[in-house]
């Protein structure tokens, strides 16, 4: 490979570095590597990549890595390790896994073949089970899997196929060939992360990405989306992605995929069975759902027929599938093909069903349910890794790792032998293999690390489509058998490198960018509920911050105020207390009160707590918020948590946060699709602002208000300038009341909010068909009339109190009317007892 220098050309700058990296690269003995082939020479694609890479100055390389990391952080690409509560930032390896096109074609052909084989076997198992009756496959290899769903026996899959998406985990064997390590047929994860990895890396290395002729992944996603849509039995189908919810380890991925594919992100509670169909609860009532792409395991799909304790499913869903009323992808029960017990039978099944041998081998596996295999495993126990025959843990042994008999104590070894003798069906012995390695960038040099490549196949009407690329997980330990995204592992983008330029139509870098589609149809009730509360939390945070600022500012300006100002300060303090922002008593220093109201974690009404509540709510809305909007909220929560030093810091933190809140409002106003829930965010904000403004007015424009009080009120509702431009006198009660409560032109007045609420409610669908005005609208219209016809001279403390009560009633009625199935609704429960 150093021959090029001798051709008389000036050596490329990256050349020498690559030679150095190659020399320093310590391949693990006896293990295949992606960068350096079996014969010790670097593979051609890698040389090309590293030469271009090496042409960058070290500082530039670091800058690009930094930009990739920044993007991940800003886009909020996260996952959660099992047992953890906080999200982790996605750990992306900066070096992609490179595979050249000719090798990829072999992988692609093998995965296509395997997907087709598994689909055929599933059709037989849930159909007339000829493979079982003929003895080609022992019944025990199937019956032991908890994913063999008896309820699905004899049910034809709606939409015509069992597997809409299939994934194979691959590694390179010691002989240099690719091997299948495992099959994913239930609900393979990683597609959405693969998409994000591509997005990030193609941005950080735009020039490299272009010059390397990397196959684009976007056409795969389009084919996948179109096939799912086509599987429905009507023209404009509604497709949902069923997620276990924000507590799922891969919720971010569910949101990414839903947004990218234009599907509704739904949870079990959002769906209801009615008639022989599945419906989604929306703000316009129940709407039929045609296709459900599930990320919920099959056994959790229906508490009525499957796992009774599941809270993730939809009661009655299985019966709808039985009646061909909804396409569920993958078909419930497909997960049975993940059982290791099946592996040993696949080569002969391939011959039998496809008439050809398997194109790619898998790890040699002995299923102990068969006498001969069991005897062999027991005889050469130390030569095997013992695994559960149906996935998951090894029965009788803790944890999820395989059991290595050579490492067991004599007692444990006997226990294992007895278990295999009694219940051989539960165990497989697998040949001991080590994962092959791929280079990672480690402090300025390249180092080999074990990896697993997950390749995705989508079932389309024209056969299987393979994603050119995939999801690559890399272990941080040089010695690894399995890689999960737990602690220490990282992910890598996978570049399939073509010999020629990839088709021009997909050459634009924008092709792989997230394509935001308009989410069709009505907003699901839960999303609307969350949007409404997101609006309310943010507006309440704003009001609280304004109070904090008002509390702090006079302290810095001793010239202002005096005895009367003290009274105003007490009013502010009292408000912060009733809102749960502070627990300090009235004799405390205002500065301490302000600091607590700003960032106490114990106070549910502190600005920090409110912003965190908003963030929590926004987490369930990931697929509906733009990355910018998401970023504003996360930054706000992070920054507010930093402890402030003194009064000045309190004021500047409050002011900065107010600016961020304004920029979020601006983003929502300018960027949010009006059809998809924006109204509910707006309604939440308007309702909360109307309530808070009325409360401010009741406190600071009460019948006994001083001019200091009125002055504070004008500041709180941001009306100082308007007031001064309109009146040449200092603050007086009636004009201030008019401006703050009744003025329809003042965007901060109560009347303005109520008018906006009226407009929103009027544009929402009626749920009843009797032509009568519904309750939220009745309340809103009545409120508007009283404000439109009201006069400042008629306003008193008492009437302000009544107005506040009416506004609270209106906000509640919106919740009851549009989100009857929201978080507070009663959920279905099981009948209990030994009936």
């Amino acid at each position: 490979m150093t021959g090029q220098a001798g051709q008389g050309k000036k050596p490329r700058p990256g050349h020498r570095k690559v030679a150095q990296w190659t020399r320093d690269y310590e391949r693990l003995p006896g293990i295949s590597d992606e960068f350096i082939a079996q014969d010790g020479t670097p593979r051609e694609v890698w040389t090309r990549f590293f030469e271009a890479f090496g042409g960058l100055a070290p500082a530039e390389i670091e800058r690009r890595f930094g930009s990739a990391d920044r993007h991940l952080r800003e886009a909020g690409v996260t996952y959660r390790a099992p047992g953890e509560i906080a999200d982790r930032i996605w750990p992306l390896s900066h070096v992609p896994l490179l595979i050249d096109e000719s090798e990829w074609q072999q992988i692609s052909a093998a995965v296509t073949q395997r997907a087709g084989l598994l689909e055929k076997i599933l059709g037989d198992l849930y159909g007339d089970a000829c493979l079982i009756a003929s003895g080609a496959l022992p019944a025990a290899a199937i019956a032991g899997s908890s994913e063999y769903l008896r309820a699905m026996r004899g049910v034809k899959p709606p939409g015509g196929r069992y597997l809409n998406v299939y994934a194979a985990d691959l590694g390179r064997g010691p002989d240099g060939r690719w091997w299948v390590l495992g099959d994913r047929t239930q609900a393979p994860s990683g597609m959405g992360y693969a998409l994000e990895n591509r997005l990030v890396l193609s941005r950080a290395f735009t020039d490299l990405y272009k010059s390397m002729n990397v196959e684009r992944v976007a056409p795969f996603f389009e084919a996948f989306r179109d096939s799912l849509r086509a599987s429905a039995d009507r023209d404009e189908p509604r497709v949902g992605l069923l997620s276990p919810g924000p507590f799922s380890e891969t919720y971010f991925e569910h949101a990414t995929l839903a947004r990218y594919l234009g599907f509704l992100l739904v949870e079990g509670d959002d769906l209801a069975v009615s008639g022989d169909r599945v419906h989604i609860r929306t703000v316009a009532g129940l709407k039929r759902l045609d296709v459900l792409l599930r990320r919920v395991d099959a056994n959790s799909l229906d508490p009525l027929e499957l796992d009774a304790s599941s809270q993730l499913g939809v009661p009655g869903l299985i019966d709808v599938v039985r009646k061909n009323g909804v396409v569920v992808a993958n078909m419930p029960g497909s997960g049975v093909m993940e059982a290791r017990a099946l592996l040993g039978f696949l080569p002969s099944l391939s011959q039998k069903l496809l008439g050809e041998p398997l194109k790619m081998p898998h790890i040699a596996t002995w299923w102990c349910g068969q006498k001969s295999a069991r005897e062999e495993v027991l005889a050469r126990l130390d030569d095997f890794a013992i695994e559960g025959a149906y996935g998951g843990a090894v029965p009788g042994f803790p944890g999820y790792s395989p059991v290595l008999p050579s490492q067991l104590s004599p007692d444990e070894r006997e226990r294992l032998k007895a278990a295999i003798s009694n219940r051989g069906v539960d165990y497989v012995g697998q040949e001991l293999v080590q994962l092959s390695t791929t280079p990672v960038w480690d402090n300025g040099r390249l180092a080999p690390r074990p990896f697993v490549l997950r390749v995705f196949a989508a079932g389309t009407p024209d056969g299987w489509t393979i994603m050119p690329g995939g999801f690559c997980r890399i272990a941080d330990q040089p010695d690894a058998r399995a890689v999960s995204m737990g602690a220490g592992a990282r992910a890598a983008d996978v570049w399939v490198v073509a010999d020629k330029a990839v088709p021009a139509s997909t050459l634009l870098p924008a092709v792989d960018n997230v394509r935001i589609r308009r989410i069709a149809g009505w907003v699901p009730s839960r999303a609307a509920d969350n949007l409404f509360w997101l609006g309310r939390y943010l507006e309440r945070a704003e009001s609280t911050l304004r109070l904090i600022r008002a509390l702090s500012v006079p302290q810095r300006d001793p010239g202002k105020g005096g005895a009367t100002a003290l009274q105003s300060i007490e009013r502010i303090h009292r408000m912060l207390m009733t809102w749960g922002a502070t627990s300090l008593t009235s004799r405390s220093q205002p500065a301490k009160v302000a600091a607590q109201a700003l960032q106490s974690e114990q106070q549910f009404g502190s600005a920090l707590s409110l912003v965190r509540s908003a963030l929590r709510t926004a987490t369930s809305l990931r697929e509906r918020l733009s990355p910018d909007a998401w970023q504003v909220i996360t930054e706000m929560a992070e920054r507010l948590a930093h402890e402030v030093e003194d009064d000045d810091d309190v004021v500047s933190a409050a002011e900065l946060t107010l600016q961020e809140l304004a920029s979020f409002a601006g983003l929502a106003q300018e960027n949010m699709n009006r059809a998809a829930g924006w109204r509910f965010l707006e309604m939440g904000r308007r309702a909360e602002r109307a309530i808070n403004t009325t409360r401010f007015a009741r406190q600071f424009a009460c019948d006994e208000a001083t001019s200091d009080d009125l002055d504070i009120l004008l500041t709180l509702v941001d009306c100082q300038i308007t007031y001064r431009s309109r009146y040449l006198v200092g603050p007086l009660l009636a004009p201030v009341r008019d401006l703050v409560v009744l003025d329809p032109y003042n965007p901060r007045s109560v009347a303005f909010q109520v008018s906006a609420l009226n407009d929103h409610i009027a544009s929402l669908p009626a749920l009843k068909e009797n032509g009568l005005m519904e309750r939220p609208q009745r309340l809103a219209v009545a409120l508007r009339s009283s404000l439109v016809t009201g006069e400042a001279s008629e306003i008193h403390t008492k009437s302000l109190f009544a107005l506040e009560q009416d506004l609270l009633t209106l906000a509640d009625s919106i919740g009851l009317h549009y989100f009857p199935h929201g978080a507070s609704a009663s959920r279905p429960e099981k009948l209990t007892g030994l009936a």
Partner: protein, 292 residues
């Protein structure tokens, strides 16, 4: 023998239930040793929809949808069943239990009747070493499957205390084993778990017992409610044989089979989800009369 069975299930709720979706397994099957003569189920309030199907295990299962708000759900099932069954003697010859295990592992049938469906852990019956060890005492090397199962059944009857207040549906198996008490459901689950731990096929049976015993015989435990026992696959020739560990008897003409499954969760006579109840109370009344 012909039995007339009345089985009334009543759920009372603290607050109105607006929606209920239930699965009923109340129709006795016509199967080996028994024949259904007549059957009807009355439901109050009147359901919006009722549909009958046969589930994987061959049990007639009725899906019921109720959309009328109600505080009481009453399901009144009446059946008439002809029973004529022959049980083997407790001491009869049978194949060695190890060979029964191997035969079930080699099964080439995936249907509900296949022994292989009853060898594995199921939702309510995990395989626990302690339970397996308990059962292993009855299955010495080369012992006949029938003799082993009879011995295990007898040990459960003598070593466990029948106590209707001791357990609820969710009592874990380990606790039943530790405290050595429970009801018919627990004893059935213990026997099933122990046998499956050894790789032997054992199924859960729900059904009824005749209420008034034949003259000169004692009244059987569990006769005033639905009963549960175990069906063991004893090899190709003997097939499935019923063992009632609560009463230490082989199942013959005093038992009426309602449904067979892997455990209670497959055969629950009344199962469902409801919306709205804060608290629920269940009452079950069973009456089994011998007509002739």
């Amino acid at each position: 023998m012909i039995y007339e069975i009345r089985h009334v299930t009543t759920y009372s709720y603290e607050s109105p239930v607006s929606y209920a979706r239930c699965s009923l397994r109340l129709q006795p099957n016509s199967s080996a040793g028994q024949q259904l003569v007549s059957h009807s189920v009355d439901i109050k309030p009147l359901p919006a929809a009722r549909a009958m199907r046969t589930d994987f295990f061959g049990t007639p299962t009725e899906s019921v949808l109720i959309e009328t708000p109600h505080r009481v759900l009453r399901i009144d099932s009446r059946s008439r069943v002809y029973v004529e069954r022959f049980a083997p003697g407790r001491g009869d010859d049978s194949p060695a239990w190890e060979s029964v295990r191997e035969a079930s592992f080699d099964s080439n049938d995936l249907s509900g009747a296949s022994p292989i469906g009853y060898v594995f852990a199921s939702p309510l019956v995990p395989i626990i070493d302690a339970v397996t060890d308990y059962a292993a005492v009855s299955f010495t090397e080369g012992r006949g499957i029938l003799a082993g199962a009879v011995d295990l059944m007898h040990r459960i009857r003598t070593e466990f205390k029948y106590d209707p207040k001791a357990t609820v549906i969710s009592t874990p198996l380990q606790e039943v084993l530790d405290k050595r008490h429970g009801v018919c459901q627990d004893f059935a689950h213990i026997m099933i778990a122990g046998m499956r731990g050894l790789g032997l096929p054992a199924a859960y049976v729900s059904g009824y017992l005749r209420t008034i015993p034949p003259e000169g015989k004692e009244r059987l435990q569990g006769a005033d409610a639905t009963h549960a026992w175990v069906s063991v696959w004893c090899g190709e020739e003997l097939g499935w044989i019923g063992f009632d560990p609560t009463n230490d008897i082989l199942v013959e003409n005093d038992h009426i089979v309602l449904a067979i499954g892997r455990d209670f969760s497959d055969v629950s006579p009344v199962d469902g989800v409801i919306v709205g109840a804060r608290k629920q109370k269940l009452a079950v009344a069973v009456d089994v009369l011998l007509l002739e």
